[in-house]
C-alpha cells in the first residue's frame, strides 16, 4: 500500500482520536519515522484537531483561573507543610541521636551467655533421661552383684562346714 493510501485509510484519524489499537499505534509511530509525508500529514491533522477544539470551545466564567490558582496554592502549601514536617522530623531524629551519643559513653563488652538453637532442647532432655536410666541400672546391678557375692560367701562357709 502506498503512503498516500495509508494516509487516506483513516489510520491517522483513529490514532489522533485516541482509539487506535496497540498494533495501530506501533504502525503509526513506525510510519511517522519512515515517511516524512506521513509525519507532516499527522502533524497537520493534530493541529487541525486543536483548531477544531478551539472552534468548539466555551469561555470559562470569570474567577475560574483564580479558583485553579487557589487550588494549586493549597496543594503547594500542603506539600510544603509535609516537606517541612518531614525535614524537621528528620533533623529532630538526627539531633536526638547526636544528643544520645553525647550523654552516654559507648562501652564494648562481651556477653557471657551462649546462644543455643532451640532444637538442642530435645537432645538435652534425651541425654538427661538416658543418664537417669543408666544410673538406675548401675545401682540395680551393683546391689544385685553385692547380693550374689554375699550368697557365694554364705555357700562357701556352708561348704567348708560340711567338709569338716
Amino acid at each position: 500500500m502506498e503512503i498516500n493510501e495509508i494516509i487516506e485509510s483513516g489510520l491517522m484519524e483513529t490514532y489522533v482520536m485516541g482509539i487506535a489499537t496497540e498494533d495501530e499505534v506501533a504502525k503509526v509511530l513506525s510510519l511517522k519515522k519512515e515517511y516524512p509525508a506521513f509525519k507532516d500529514a499527522l502533524e497537520q491533522l493534530e493541529l487541525d484537531m486543536e483548531l477544531m477544539a478551539q472552534s468548539m470551545g466555551v469561555e470559562p466564567p470569570v474567577g475560574t483561573l483564580a479558583k485553579i490558582e487557589h487550588e494549586i496554592n493549597e496543594i503547594q502549601r500542603q506539600n510544603q507543610a509535609v516537606q517541612t514536617a518531614f525535614n524537621s522530623e528528620y533533623s529532630d531524629d538526627r539531633s536526638h541521636h547526636e544528643n544520645k551519643r553525647e550523654k552516654y559513653i559507648e562501652v564494648e563488652s562481651e556477653s557471657n551467655q551462649m546462644r543455643v538453637n532451640k532444637a538442642w532442647k530435645w537432645v538435652f532432655i534425651a541425654i538427661f533421661v538416658l543418664g537417669k536410666i543408666f544410673l538406675a541400672c548401675a545401682i540395680y546391678f551393683y546391689l544385685e552383684n553385692r547380693q550374689v557375692k554375699e550368697q557365694i560367701e554364705t555357700l562357701k562357709i556352708e561348704l567348708q562346714q560340711k567338709i569338716r
Binding site: 482520536m17 485516541g18 493534530e46 472552534s55 466555551v58 496543594i75
Partner: protein, 167 residues
C-alpha cells in the same frame, strides 16, 4: 521550569512528591498562558461529555489543577501533543460519564462548532469517539455497521470539519 514558553512537550509521570512540587512552582504568568490557551477548549470538551454547565465548570477546575500537578510540561520539542494529552487526560477523569452507554444529545449549552455539518450517523460516530472514547469495534457492534465503514465515516466526519476550517 514547567509551563515556561510556548514550545512544550508533555510527559506524563506518576505524581511523585518531587515532580508535583516542582511542577506547581509554575509562575502565575505561565499558568495564565496555559489557562488562556486550553481552558476554553477543555470546557467545551467537558460540556460535550457532562452536559451540565455548573458540573462542567467544577470538573474544569479539578481537571486543570490535577493536570498541572500530574503532568510535567518541559520546554522542549513542539506543543502539538498538549491538547491531545489534555483531552485524553480529561476523558480518563470523566469515566463516570464516558462509561455510560448513553445517547449523546448535545444541548444548547454546548458549542457544537462544526458538528452541524455532519449527518446523523457521522455525528453519532464522531461524538461517541471524541467525547466518550468508544472504540471502532464497539461502535461496529452497537450501530450495526462493519468496522471499515465506521472507520470511513469517522474519517469523513473529520475531513468535513477540517475542510470547513479551510484545511
Amino acid at each position: 521550569m514547567a509551563l515556561s514558553c510556548p514550545s512544550f512537550s508533555v510527559t506524563v509521570q506518576t505524581s511523585m512528591f518531587k515532580a508535583a512540587s516542582n511542577n506547581l512552582s509554575a509562575e502565575p504568568k505561565n499558568l495564565r498562558w496555559f489557562y488562556d490557551q486550553y481552558a476554553p477548549m477543555l470546557l467545551g470538551y467537558i460540556n460535550g461529555i457532562v452536559q451540565d454547565p455548573q458540573q462542567s465548570e467544577h470538573h474544569l477546575v479539578a481537571i486543570l489543577t490535577s493536570f498541572v500537578k500530574d503532568v510535567v510540561i518541559l520546554p522542549e520539542k513542539n506543543r502539538l501533543n498538549i491538547w491531545l494529552e489534555l483531552r485524553q487526560y480529561a476523558q480518563s477523569k470523566l469515566t463516570l460519564y464516558t462509561a455510560k452507554d448513553q445517547q449523546l444529545n448535545l444541548n444548547q449549552s454546548v458549542n457544537n462548532g462544526r458538528l452541524d455539518l455532519l449527518d446523523e450517523l457521522q455525528k453519532k460516530i464522531f461524538c461517541a469517539v471524541y467525547y466518550h472514547g468508544k472504540s471502532i469495534h464497539y461502535l461496529a457492534a452497537t450501530i450495526g455497521y462493519d468496522e471499515s465503514e465506521i472507520r470511513n465515516q469517522l474519517k469523513l466526519s473529520i475531513d468535513k470539519m477540517r475542510r470547513a476550517s479551510g484545511n
